[in-house]
């Protein structure tokens, strides 16, 4: 038994580190380090740099533009990106719809959509959840009715993250009302410029319009935008959901956050002449979550080792989702505790580029409450942690 990287892996790790140091734009790094809001252009610019290096789509098969990396190399890449604070590409295109397109799409669809995803020319968003179909996604009601060469789509999708930037949306739609609920669903790609689509922002607890409702009113979608076969969409989506769970443990991100937190706690007075980091209660809580993330990291590595020898990631990935999201949420709580009274101000302007007023508090600590509030979503999205526990009960424990 060993958990060491090979010499080749270590060489690769160094290569990634050097690349990040040289190529991750300084202005974007400044934003990330100081909690300044990232704009669409920041993501697109960085993704284009990744693509130029050929590293935009590590998960894709090589023939479509993937890297051909081993699972360990993919892991190293994601870890180094996270530890450096470099954003992972926005997932909707490259890691969510693309696998469905190259696995189930026609040659025509692959040619039409994959290059633009690699080159970040097209921004995708996800049309899955509906106001009444959350955890019970298969009960979705948005309909697509065939009319000649088109489907006519009606309904409402919700929680559409960054849909305000999107050029295209991939949707689960109901094409058969008579079948069992999972069996009447199709996977449809829709151009957001099609008449009849309305995007309305939903403001979250941090007052940012991060997600949207997308309304479809008699939206005509060419039948060639159907993926695979009609009424097989649920099967395709399930594959996609497995992809959504890769990296869900967020170990690199949590590690980076804990490292910064440790520094911040060391600089934060405890009010009695010492630092918060030396406060036994605080340091113990930090230790607790560090240990949790360490255990999680090894749980993830074990999954990775299994995948490396060809086993499919099983329902164990539910562990990574639950523990990963809870760990990062707990770290958010600790940030808020370090911020103390400076966790209270809500000053979005302070986190916009070019803010020149008097900054309140230290660094991004002033935004710690908002981060905490916003990240409560993590245990809700991507299959809520309750749903993950159902999966463990049924699929792992056989209950």
């Amino acid at each position: 038994m060993n958990a060491d990287f090979t010499a080749e892996d270590l060489k690769f790790q160094k290569e990634v580190q050097d690349f990040l140091k040289a190529e991750f734009p300084q202005d974007i790094k400044h934003k990330v380090d100081n909690g300044i809001r990232l704009e669409k252009d920041d993501f697109v610019r960085w993704q284009k740099i990744l693509n130029k290096r050929g590293w935009m789509a590590p998960n894709w098969p090589k023939e479509y533009g993937g890297t051909g990396w081993t699972p360990t190399q993919k892991y190293i890449f994601a870890m180094e990106m996270g530890l450096y604070g470099a954003m992972a590409p926005v997932a909707f295109g490259v890691n969510m719809v693309a696998p469905v397109i190259y696995t189930y799409g026609s040659e025509e669809q692959k040619k039409r959509f994959l290059p633009d995803i690699l080159e970040s020319n097209v921004w995708w968003c996800q049309g899955y959840s509906e106001p009444n179909a959350g955890s019970d996604l298969a009960s979705l009601k948005t309909t697509a009715v065939r009319d000649g060469d088109h489907y006519v789509v009606n309904g409402t999708k919700t929680w559409t993250t960054l849909g305000q930037h999107a050029d295209w949306i991939f949707c689960l739609v109901r094409t058969d009302n008579t079948a069992k609920k999972q069996e009447g669903i199709s996977f449809l790609l829709i151009d957001m410029k099609t008449p009849g689509i309305k995007v309305s922002p939903i403001y979250l607890l941090d007052d940012e319009p991060e997600v949207n409702e997308v309304h479809f009113d008699n939206v005509r979608v060419p039948v060639e935008n159907l993926i695979g076969e009609e009424n097989q969409g649920w099967t395709y989506a399930k594959v996609l959901l497995t992809h959504e769970r890769t990296n869900i443990a967020q170990v690199p991100n949590s590690k980076l956050k804990m490292r910064k937190l440790r520094d911040l706690a060391a600089q934060t007075p405890d009010g009695f002449g010492g630092s918060l980091l030396n406060d036994p209660v605080f340091s113990r809580k930090l230790a607790e979550v560090e240990i949790q993330v360490l255990a999680l990291e090894y749980a993830e590595l074990r999954t990775l080792a299994a995948v490396s020898v060809g086993k499919a990631p099983g329902p164990e990935s539910s562990i990574l989702k639950i523990v990963g999201t809870e760990a990062t949420q707990f770290i958010d709580e600790l940030y808020m505790e370090v911020a103390g009274y400076h966790s209270l101000p809500h000053v979005p302007a302070q986190f916009a580029e070019g803010f020149s007023g008097e900054r309140i508090g230290k660094g991004s600590l002033v935004n710690s409450s908002n981060v905490y509030f916003n990240n409560r979503k993590k245990s809700i999205y991507g299959g809520s942690n309750e749903i993950q526990k159902n999966i463990i009960s049924k699929a792992v424990l056989g209950l």
């Binding site: 403001y203 101000p345 309140i360 509030f373 409560r376 979503k377």
Partner: protein, 377 residues
């Protein structure tokens, strides 16, 4: 033994409850927060007219009596509507400090106006590196003839943007952490050398960072004896801690009620999600937290109304704030989780209750601070 309210307390509760239910719905509150001043002048006048602003004050100071149980009654009902008006900052905290330390003349000139709602106050005590230790005061007040010259910066001064006067805690002698040498001053909010960086907090309340540069204050505007303000400040911060804990009890009850209601109506997999035992147990646990929070707040309020020692009272409040803090974390997070995505949106009140109780946890000493204080007392 009798835990029921007196007739007067019952009337007080009824009157606040009626106001919150009939005039303080979520949309009204939102509009008030978005208004220029961030509170409703009309409601503030109504609070004064109904006598609520007299609740924190002793009878001899012209108040309703100043009992902690009365205060608890009002704050719990305010918590159900997340009332945004500066009752806590102006009346409980600042008015309370004047009640503790003020001379007869100071009380006469200020407290009546506070109770009438015509004067708004804010107390500037916390500093960027004081954390929750009230004895950590870096702001200085240097005697200069018949006046003091104040220099320093304060953080999170609740209600500072609307305050006519600030009560500033400053050091007149001693080293940074000394318990002696801390004094309180009444400073005109518009005095030369006072500057404010105002903001809206995550819970909608207004506050400011306050900078004091060579602010000249007459010796007559010192509250109480020089260098002797800490005990009174501690007592009044504890009273405020008790007040927000009671407010949290009201807010948590609402969160529980709303969560149970939602679980009964929200359908997934063909049934109401409230039929799932796993979720039922979590709501049962929320209920237990609410009950324990309520119990510990009642304990502390009753203790404050006895003639027990300051240490006994401090310990009771530390217990209440710490236990309520734990309850708030749990009830807040669970209410959001059980509602799902809708509760992380700005449009539903659940998220706003969550934000308010999260803020309360950070006010006047967070849970860990109060636990350590309880252990040391």
């Amino acid at each position: 033994m009798d835990f029921s309210y007196s007739d007067e307390q019952q009337m007080l509760q009824d009157s606040v409850q009626k106001f919150v239910y009939s005039q303080y719905d979520f949309d009204t509150r939102r509009k008030i927060i978005q208004s220029e001043t961030g509170y409703s002048a009309e409601y503030w006048a109504l609070f004064a007219e109904l006598g609520w602003l007299t609740v924190p004050f002793r009878e001899e100071d012209g108040g309703f009596g100043g009992s902690a149980v009365d205060l608890m009654v009002v704050m719990e009902e305010f918590g159900k509507g997340m009332v945004i008006e500066p009752f806590l900052a102006s009346a409980v905290l600042s008015g309370g400090l004047i009640g503790e330390l003020g001379s007869a003349a100071q009380k006469e000139s200020l407290l009546a106006a506070v109770m009438e709602g015509s004067l708004q106050l804010a107390t500037a005590y916390a500093e960027a590196d004081s954390r929750y230790n009230l004895a950590s005061v870096g702001t200085t007040a240097r005697k200069q003839g018949d006046s003091y010259l104040i220099n320093g910066s304060k953080v999170m001064v609740l209600n500072a943007p609307s305050a006519d006067k600030l009560l500033v805690i400053a050091r007149t002698s001693g080293d940074k952490f000394d318990r002696d040498g801390i004094s309180a001053f009444i400073v005109d909010a518009s005095a030369a050398g006072v500057s404010k960086n105002s903001y809206t907090a995550v819970d909608g309340h207004r506050a400011a960072e306050v900078h004091l540069t060579d602010v000249l204050v007459a010796a007559a505007d010192r509250l109480g004896a020089e260098g002797n303000a800490l005990a009174a400040l501690e007592a009044i911060i504890d009273r405020a801690a008790l007040a927000v804990s009671a407010e949290a009890v009201g807010s948590m009850d609402c969160l529980l009620k709303k969560t149970v209601e939602y679980a009964k109506t929200r359908k997934q997999f063909g049934v109401a999600i409230g039929t799932f035992q796993a979720l039922q147990h979590r709501m049962s646990e929320m209920f237990i937290e609410c009950q324990l929070a309520r119990s510990v707040v009642i304990m502390a309020a009753m203790k404050l109304d006895t003639d027990g020692s300051p240490a006994e009272k401090a310990k009771a409040v530390a217990a209440a704030k710490a236990r309520v803090g734990r309850a708030m974390r749990k009830v807040g997070q669970e209410a959001v989780q059980l509602h799902g995505g809708i509760a992380v949106t700005d449009e539903l009140d659940v998220g706003h209750f969550f934000k308010r109780i999260t803020t309360i946890e950070n006010l006047f000493g967070n849970t860990d601070y109060q636990l350590a204080r309880f252990a040391s007392l």
